[in-house]
Symmetry: C2
């Protein structure tokens, strides 16, 4: 493959060339990526659209806030959009690629210092490039008794995931709730600090989420209002005990009963962690490939599903949770949990599983140990393409079942397997459809692209909104949050226009566009 | 007392009179308060400054969002600032009074519907005028198994307290963390809904704090960026057991050890609720008055303190916490808690207290039962004046002790009693000094006013910022959040100017002023 350089909209080749030269002066030649090979690092290799739809014109990787400030000045001077990424592993949602071709990627991977660990109060202050694996390794190497909470793949970024409202699997699974204090650079280079960090010489840093006046941290999440350059994140103290469990359920229609059982256990914190109800294929696909069970076209047929479930002692749904604390407390909770789930016919409980990499990696995740196992799902059909369709589900059995069946039926109609999980937080529940397709198969790619768009509209019509999405659907999903003639997005745009008047920061992120690129 | 009508700055008597007439057309004559008696309802009766410093020119009380929209239009047409209150009980911080004389108070007390209770997921949707007592009574009358978390006085507003970052005493004590979904009217009358409420017909309403795109709810807290007209708040399911406890400590210098013991118990959630370390006088003052122990001027002398402590079986510090859940779990936690605190010499544990209204009301508060007992503190010296000085304290013993002694010493120097408590959330800790003065004593009032200003500056110099404050100190405290030449407040002002360009909403709230009133 070779690609043609697409320049940012309205920017001449001379201006672009001059800008790239200026960026080289800021960060040095080694940290500006403007040739074809360099640009291609920043494509989305799993996209439902051709690479060129989201191909940057260049990337620049600064080492400090001072360098970011200079980069933003270059961007303003030449009206070039910059697309901020931290570790760039936001795969299934676009990875490191920008919303439109021609943007320059602002890659913060080099700013990867762990600035502070507070062992007593339990928090870290990190830069954007710090990965889960890095923070985990650091804590273990220094003898810390603090855990992290990580998203499934270890290479993900602590800061990037939290500001994208990501979730994990320990009791600290809601990453943005666990965030505490930020440093943000605005488009004009102004550095702002929130929380107690806003007070020079502050002593209560990163213990208090809210301080005095409006709480602004939220406006820098899932947005393009600033570049987050530092973040505090609370860390969980190592508990005196850990008891992960798995319960399998034999029927697809058991989901409703599972969620009905789980919701009161979650609301009452008897299951304290980010639990998950995971479908058969998700749990099988880290062990086997589709071709092991089916050589035909289209979704895995029921007979093959049955065989796969039996071979691997899996249910059509598989519930993972964990308990933490002293033995008697875990036992007390477990009694209530077991009583609730054992009412569902066919439920089978596991505390150990032999030769089961799916169990192994979930046991790790629920104690905050990063790994890369889940990425093995990519081998299910091969060909790399995958998209996450991520509607918010009410924590209500019949509604969750309705949402699942709606999506599953459309997947089957379009020839795809339903591969999904419900991540069950406290009261909130994220449903993730892993829509896999062979990117080399043009028909399949086009079908996946079309299917996703239909799912967005059908979910919205049924009252379900998404919490996060791939670049290709950011506008469409923004459009579903339509109360009062899209008053919320109009407000986003008012804020955007004021704090980034040149419209250089990540235009189009979550459907928020600067004035010059709207309409 | 009689007062002279002060008009809003730059508004002629004719314009004002015309505006009041228009307001009468909107809400009816009964709901515009523009005579002297009507205005005086909205003064701050406990202020450190004379009434006229914060006396509104009128008040208007709408019954619906449609009426708010019309009121804001009148305000814009005549350039009259409106100061939004919900139940108006924000006493010690200004009560219902506006930041400057002449504003019109927008009193939302009539919008007091409990719109929805979700028993299964555990949340309520309320309008601004709903008080703690009202929500509590409603839940009890309907047989609900949900608890509320209330601030100390029952008349406080559920919504108003949450958007002011208020705290309570159950495990749901961080009110803004427990907030989920908002409806907000902007200055131009646009109605915006956040969270899943932003999607017409949404099904996952008020279960998910964050939805898609920037999380904006925070900008409508402790701010003047909009009028919050509805709010979702999570409610705690009634636990199977409740075990409140109190531990008394004999010495003022024990605070350091108390916080050192409490912090790991809190971070590890062994004490799950909004706990408190309360000083001797706070706990005595709901039972006795100062004159029972001391007839002289100035702070209560050590000998009288000692006698009062003995009479009432109180410590110089008194720690309140509670456990919730099944008996064995509470017992397990209690063992750890007792071991930690019993290391402090002189610690005494209570599970019951006879004839102790202080214990009685704290037992109520820690199970979310509103009451008015704490307001009895006002009788300590009489004369009504009181201010809360509320610095954030790090959850660290020596630092908390340092903050306490700094403030105590200045109180004594200025002739006041130190009356205070540390509210201990999860990692955050709010220190509340109840600065009481006789408002009828001009010298005392002036001393209190001066002392508070000194405390703000000295706390900031030592690295401590406040989380909330009285009208009179809003600018001063905003000034202490000074990182990078006040970049945070500059950002607040940029947002303010954009979403309230006429500058009519609560000018000066938390030191945020519209452009026309700055500098």
């Amino acid at each position: 493959m070779s690609d043609t350089l697409v320049l940012p909209e309205g920017v001449s080749a001379e201006a672009f060339s001059s800008a790239v030269g200026e960026l080289r002066n800021v960060v040095g030649d080694n940290w500006v990526f403007s040739d074809e090979a360099g640009r291609r690092i920043y494509r989305d290799p799993f996209s439902p659209l051709p690479d060129d739809q989201f191909m940057p014109s260049a990337a620049v990787s600064p080492a400090s806030v001072e360098e970011i400030e200079k980069i933003l000045k270059v961007a303003i001077d030449h009206a070039i959009p910059v697309w901020t990424i931290s570790t760039g592993r936001n795969f299934a949602y676009g990875g490191p690629a920008p919303r439109k071709p021609g943007y320059i990627v602002l890659d913060l991977k080099r700013m990867n210092r762990i600035l502070h660990i507070d062992e007593k109060i339990g928090y870290a202050i990190v830069e954007p490039g710090v990965s889960y694996q890095q923070l985990y390794d650091h804590l273990r190497a220094t003898g810390s008794k603090l855990w992290i909470d990580c998203a499934a793949p270890a290479w993900g970024g602590v800061l990037g995931n939290a500001v994208d409202h990501g979730a994990g699997y320990t009791p600290y699974g809601d990453h943005f709730i666990m965030q505490c204090g930020m440093e943000v650079m605005l488009a004009d280079g102004t550095l702002v600090r929130t929380g107690q960090l806003g007070l020079e010489g502050a002593r209560a840093v990163n213990a208090t989420k809210f301080s005095y006046g409006p709480y602004l941290d939220g406006i820098f999440t899932q947005s393009n209002f600033g570049v987050v350059t530092k973040m505090g994140i609370w860390l969980m103290p190592e508990p005196p005990g850990y008891k992960p469990f798995m319960i399998t359920f034999p029927h697809e229609e058991d989901l409703s009963a599972i969620i009905e059982a789980a919701t009161p256990l979650k609301v009452n914190m008897l299951i304290p962690n980010g639990a998950a109800a995971v479908d058969l294929i998700w749990e099988s696909a880290v062990k086997v490939t589709k071709s092991d069970y089916y050589a035909g076209e289209g979704p895995l047929p029921p007979s093959a599903r049955k065989r796969m479930a039996e071979d691997h002692k899996l249910g059509m749904w598989n519930f993972y949770g964990a308990l933490y604390g002293p033995e008697p407390m875990m036992n007390n909770n477990w009694e209530v949990i077991e009583a609730a789930f054992s009412k569902i016919p066919g439920a089978q409980v596991f505390f150990e599983r032999e030769n089961d990499p799916a169990w192994d990696y979930r046991v790790k995740l629920m104690r905050g140990e990063p790994c890369m196992t889940e990425f093995g799902l990519m081998n299910w059909i091969g060909g790399g393409g995958h998209l996450n369709f991520s509607p918010i589900s009410p924590p209500d059995g019949p509604r969750a079942q309705q949402q699942y069946e709606m999506i599953r039926d459309r997947c089957i109609e379009y020839g795809f397997d339903y591969i999904g999980e419900f991540l069950i937080g406290w009261r909130e529940m994220h449903h993730i459809l892993m829509l896999m397709f062979n990117r080399a198969n043009e028909k399949q790619r086009a079908a996946a692209y079309e299917l996703f768009g239909i799912l967005v509209d059908e979910a919205a019509a049924a009252g379900f909104g998404e919490y996060r999405t791939h670049l290709a659907y950011m506008d469409q999903i923004a459009g579903t949050y339509d109360y009062n003639d899209h008053a919320l997005w109009n407000l986003h745009h008012r804020i955007k226009d004021k704090i980034d008047p040149n419209g250089i920061l990540s235009p189009g992120k979550m459907g928020i566009w600067p004035e010059r690129m709207r309409g």
